[in-house]
Assembly symmetry: C2
Homo-oligomer: 340 residues x 2
């Protein structure tokens, strides 16, 4: 290389380094632009800085940086009904077509009637019958194809947008920020593991192997050509709610998280388990108190809670007592959705 070329190469390298430093500095000044300044944002930023700065007394080695997130109501909208329940209800006509004798049997009869009020009033046992009929009995690949198709077409009734567009922008920023700082981000959901895995990677940047959810057994078998496949069985291996969350985390991850985000009593044990570990641990709860931009439910709000968990007054008191940070959607979030 001639001297001029060398000078050019060196110049480009210095410029590139300067640009990288500038980009880094800008990222450090605000990794969470959709958050208002306040105790919630402060708690996240301080925790991340303390645990990822080499030499800090609360430094966490990269291999141990595990962050777990509830999904429904924590990463995306759960009101008025979990999107997976919408999926199951939408699948009922196809199930009845394959088994016409179900048309006059409850709860399928009520679902087919389309009477929303009656459907909303179905007891839990009937809901389980619908889940079993629509989530099991087919091959893993067939389920995945059907769920992929549905999630790309179905729309939330209020915003008229795909459910995957109803993720909370501030939480997407937290996921990204944690990953940039070496945290492995996991979804730990009461929802079906196979269902969430269908869209987790493109929706949250979380690969299927980092989705822990309620999981049924599968059965290995062969098709007529001898090709092996797995069939989804109506046998629950993990009910990933309440105590099932720490149990599921142990089963699937085998490490106690350093970070956990939830929004209901269904997440309480995951937050307790997270905080019970040594060193710095972060536990946060999303409070739905923004009736205008999203919904307001939980303590002191009119709307009923969703069926599995609830943000009760007791949970609120527990959070205050245990040092969990409550995130007010109304006060802490500058923006809620990316499309706004």
């Amino acid at each position: 290389m001639k001297r001029l070329e060398l000078r050019f190469v060196a110049g480009v390298l210095v410029l590139a380094a300067a640009l990288m430093l500038a980009a880094q500095a800008s990222a450090q000044t605000d990794a969470l632009p959709s958050w208002n300044d306040g105790p919630a944002k402060k708690a996240i930023v301080e925790f991340v800085q303390t645990t990822t700065t080499q030499g800090s007394p609360k430094f966490v080695p990269p291999a141990e940086r595990v962050a777990t997130f509830d999904q429904d109501g924590t990463l995306w909208v759960e009101h008025p009904m979990y999107s997976q329940v919408m999926y199951c209800l939408d699948r009922v006509p196809a199930v009845v077509k394959a088994k016409p004798e179900l048309a006059n049997v409850e709860p399928f009869k009520t679902v087919l009637s389309g009477n929303r009020e009656a459907i909303a009033k179905l007891p839990k046992d009937d809901l389980f019958k619908i889940l079993a009929a629509t989530l099991t009995g087919m091959s893993v690949d067939q389920f995945s194809a059907e769920a992929t198709k549905w999630i790309s077409e179905a729309k939330d009734p209020r915003w008229k947008r795909p459910y995957t567009k109803l993720t909370y922008l501030p939480m997407q920023e937290v996921l990204k920020y944690l990953r940039e700082k070496g945290y492995k981000t996991y979804i730990v959901t009461g929802g079906g593991q196979d269902f969430v895995r269908v869209y987790s990677e493109r929706t949250y940047g979380i690969p299927p192997e980092q989705v822990v959810g309620s999981a049924g057994g599968t059965k290995y078998g062969y098709d007529s050509t001898g090709k092996p496949f797995l069939t989804k069985e109506p046998k629950l291996l993990l009910n990933d709610n309440n105590a099932g969350k720490p149990e599921g985390i142990h089963l699937m991850i085998g490490r106690q998280p350093h970070v956990a985000f939830g929004n209901s009593t269904g997440d309480q044990q995951m937050l307790e388990y997270t905080k019970a570990g040594d060193g710095a641990r972060l536990a946060m709860l999303v409070l739905h108190d923004d009736a205008k931009r999203e919904y307001a439910y939980g303590p002191a709000h009119g709307l009923p809670d969703t069926k599995v968990g609830a943000f009760t007054q007791a949970l609120y008191d527990e959070a205050k007592k245990k040092g969990w940070t409550v995130i007010s959607m109304k006060n802490d979030w500058k923006r809620i959705f990316a499309f706004e």
Copy 2:
């Protein structure tokens, strides 16, 4: 910067790049130095090159690069008895001390007698009783502490070395080679998931969240100070052998592997499942045919197989029929252990 400094910086950069290229080239010439040239080594190297070279028709995107490995007999010695069974037998005196009434009850009585022949003859049901008594009923942390202590002290009777030193060097090279090429390496073992997780990271470079094994349920609870903990329950969630291996892979990883290594009929379904995927897939079986350097068992050899799986003549024929590569320890491995 002055011109001389710039020239110096540019020179250093050029030198560094040259060194990196040289290192890469050297790695490419032999990533598997403990393997003799032959069909097995060739199959591995060709598979890795084909699936990780951008533009190759069989290129596999990094996110989908999943490689699964059986442990006992595939990554380390399983003869004459699985090390986890040794652990359980060694724990029996402590269990009987805590519950003296077991001293005169079978199979504990036989284990306490120390009569090796009688112990080896215990039926499967009795073995399960020993596993349940020694692997469950304590907290996850207590089990982990006991297993960690044992694995650091216990020694294999033939080589008089810790079990963790009895891993196969050629397989360690395969793990490392695959990881360098962007594959995520998983252990998929019939052994206990909690047991293997205790040493997997420092023994194989495989973190606990990438260990899939036979797994029992846990129960969430609180100690007298209100601190939460998990108790290991005698309830089997996943029997990770035979059909349980693909079922466990779906449960814990959610992706069909591109690579699978095994050594017995207990791995057959994992290999079938791996090969059933589209594109390039690699399935390999370790054949123990080296009585001198390790052991010889399986087809046409005198020693009995281990209890869970076996390398039967039928498995050998299946491998030939399905295009799985059989690794002869005697012919394909230049060295077996790192300490040799």
